[in-house]
């Protein structure tokens, strides 16, 4: 296959050659920076056309006007005023958007805390207790494979377990612990959090594991030799050194939950309002400026959370 980098490598023999190599070249010389552009340009172009420009459009359209069926490209703050409707009038009660964000942040916090706990100990086990390389790779793969399968399937997989006649309820009723099936097991906040943890703990395990395997084992031995207990070693040596992974994993999980609308929709029985869900609802109603305004608000809040967290750690250095 004649890929782009193949072509440009052929065209530019000095690509991987040091500048001091004084070998004659058959093809015309291209400057190294031009070659870099040829190599990285296509990817940059994809991000430009399908990510950066679309983001700009989201911001622009959020200030447009709209009626029942179309966009009106005139300046208007209606997308935002509609979103914050009643927020001042209803004080001290929270308005719809306020309540939605409280709910979203609550889900975020719960999922973050649980995935961090599970992710940390799973990564700890893999990094420090599994000694053989083969087992480490095998068990890591075991954790990764579900990530390569469909999220929707992993959501609906809970239905036969948690439904009114599901395994959990029938088990509990049979054992006499409860008389009536529990209603809050499915299509509730509980099932939303459960599904989000189920789907996204992976994003916590990988970066924490990466940080942990880089920890020099002699540091841990040194801590033990100096008389530290296991707990002290954990708190004073391992956690600080695993902090970059913890922060990166947290950023992943929090941003995923902040913008999620599918898991919250499917597992919440389409009844729970969340930040991502509002955007979807507005789009379905063809109120694009209002959808865009909500997207901008979500983007700003997500950005604030990330910039707060990335103060703790330099992401670029950790990859």
């Amino acid at each position: 296959m004649d890929t782009s980098e193949d072509i440009l490598q052929q065209a530019s023999p000095d690509l991987v050659r040091g500048p001091d190599t004084a070998r004659r070249t058959k093809a015309a010389r291209l400057s190294p920076s031009f070659i870099s552009w040829l190599q990285a340009g296509p990817m940059m172009l994809v991000f430009l056309s399908f990510f950066l420009i679309p983001l700009v459009f989201v911001v622009i359209v959020s200030f447009w006007d709209y009626n029942e069926y179309q966009l009106l490209p005139t300046f208007s703050g209606r997308g935002y005023t509609d979103t914050f409707e009643g927020c001042i009038a209803q004080l001290p009660e929270l308005c719809t958007i306020g309540r939605t964000y409280v709910m979203t942040l609550k889900l975020c916090f719960l999922v973050w805390a649980i995935t961090l706990f599970i992710g940390f100990w799973v990564a700890y086990f893999l990094a420090f207790h599994v000694k053989s390389k083969t087992w480490q790779v095998g068990l890591s793969l075991l954790c990764t494979i579900p990530f390569w399968t469909s999220n929707v399937i992993r959501m609906i997989a809970w239905i036969p377990l948690l439904g009114r006649n599901g395994l959990v309820n029938s088990g509990l009723v049979k054992s006499g612990l409860i008389n009536h099936p529990l209603e809050w097991l499915l299509f509730s906040e509980f099932s939303v959090v459960l599904a989000l943890v189920h789907l996204f703990t992976f994003f916590m395990v990988v970066p924490i594991f990466n940080s942990m395997v880089r920890i020099d084992k002699s540091l841990i031995e040194a801590a033990y030799d100096a008389g530290a207990t296991g707990f002290q070693t954990l708190v004073n040596v391992i956690i600080p050194l695993a902090k970059p992974g913890i922060v990166i994993g947290s950023i992943f999980v929090i941003t995923i939950v902040m913008g999620d609308f599918i898991t919250i929709g499917v597992m919440g029985g389409q009844q729970i309002a969340a930040a991502g869900k509002i955007i979807e609802t507005r789009v379905n109603a063809l109120q694009f400026p209002a959808a865009a305004a909500n997207a901008v608000i979500l983007l700003v809040i997500t950005f604030l959370i990330i910039s707060m967290m990335s103060r703790i750690v330099d992401i670029k250095k950790e990859l």
Partner: protein
């Protein structure tokens, strides 16, 4: 080195096993339930065992036009996979030297990964809507739409798969020994030969990994497709649409079929990677003996 394992090992081993059970248990439940008998329902116990629901899916008499959605998803996934591999390897090579806009590309990739999918998806849909309006206003009044599976849909999927591809390339070149390439050049290889015969064989297992990510992430993609895919649906979108309406095991059968494709691709990729690694290990040791 034969000291007994600490007690924490057993506690964490049980914790890990519970996590794996938590990961796989529910999935296995629906695979089993998709083989319900014809009168079976959405939950256990099984009402007989049959391939009734899966057969129904393939007859096309069921809930969705499975064949068409299946082909669309397969086509899109394959194209996304190829583009992801090519662009990631190319960009990964570029990152081995400093170049202008390096950090712009890096931060674009990271941002694309963590900006909520619904926002990217909405943005792409707005972009294409505006392009459509422009075409209608200035060139062709009867123009329908430029949105579609292989325009906006492909772009949306790439914003999700390319960051993974690039990060995997970083991981590869972090532990890549540049002396191998130098040796090839000293032996007279052209840069293309050095890439084709030295670099590529070494990184090939990881490149297959990038392909695996590219295909599976596209095959199961939902959030970014939701607004940007155009008039047609991919398989996961059809599946999601069914979650609110369907009351019989159709949906599990569809889930099982989609997963079967995922697992086939995963096994093929992992199998190939395994064979390549083994071969590399065998040949590498020979080379070492010859040289040292």
């Amino acid at each position: 080195m034969k000291e007994g394992r600490p007690r924490s090992f057993y506690v964490l081993a049980i914790f890990f096993a519970a996590y794996v059970l938590f990961l796989y248990g529910p999935m296995i439940a629906i695979y089993v339930l998709s083989f319900q008998g014809p009168s079976g329902g959405l939950t256990f116990p099984m009402n007989g065992v049959s391939t009734f629901w899966i057969a129904k899916l393939f007859q096309g008499t069921g809930i969705v036009d499975l064949g068409a959605a299946f082909r669309r998803s397969l086509l899109l996934g394959t194209i996304v996979m190829i583009v992801t591999v090519v662009l990631s390897v190319a960009a990964g090579m570029a990152f081995r030297r400093k170049f202008k806009a390096q950090s712009i590309l890096f931060y674009s990739a990271i941002a694309s990964l963590i900006v909520p999918s619904i926002i990217t998806s909405l943005g792409i849909s707005l972009e294409f809507r505006i392009i459509d309006d422009l075409i209608k206003a200035h060139w062709n009044e009867n123009f329908e739409t430029s949105m579609g599976l292989l325009t906006s849909g492909l772009g949306a999927h790439l914003t999700w798969t390319l960051p993974f591809g690039l990060l995997i390339m970083f991981a590869i070149f972090n532990r890549f020994d540049p002396r191998l390439e130098e040796a090839a050049r000293d032996l007279g290889a052209t840069p293309w030969q050095a890439f084709r015969h030295v670099v590529l064989p070494i990184i090939l297992p990881s490149v297959i990994g990038i392909g695996l990510f590219g295909f599976t992430l596209s095959w199961d993609e939902l959030a970014r497709s939701s607004q940007a895919i155009g008039a047609v649906n991919t398989l996961p979108l059809d599946l999601q649409g069914l979650t609110t309406t369907v009351t019989n095991p159709d949906i599990y059968a569809l889930g099982t079929v989609i997963s079967a494709v995922s697992f086939t691709v995963i096994s093929l990729a992992l199998g190939t990677i395994h064979v390549l690694n083994k071969r590399q290990a065998a040949r590498g040791s020979d080379a070492g003996k010859g040289l040292v």
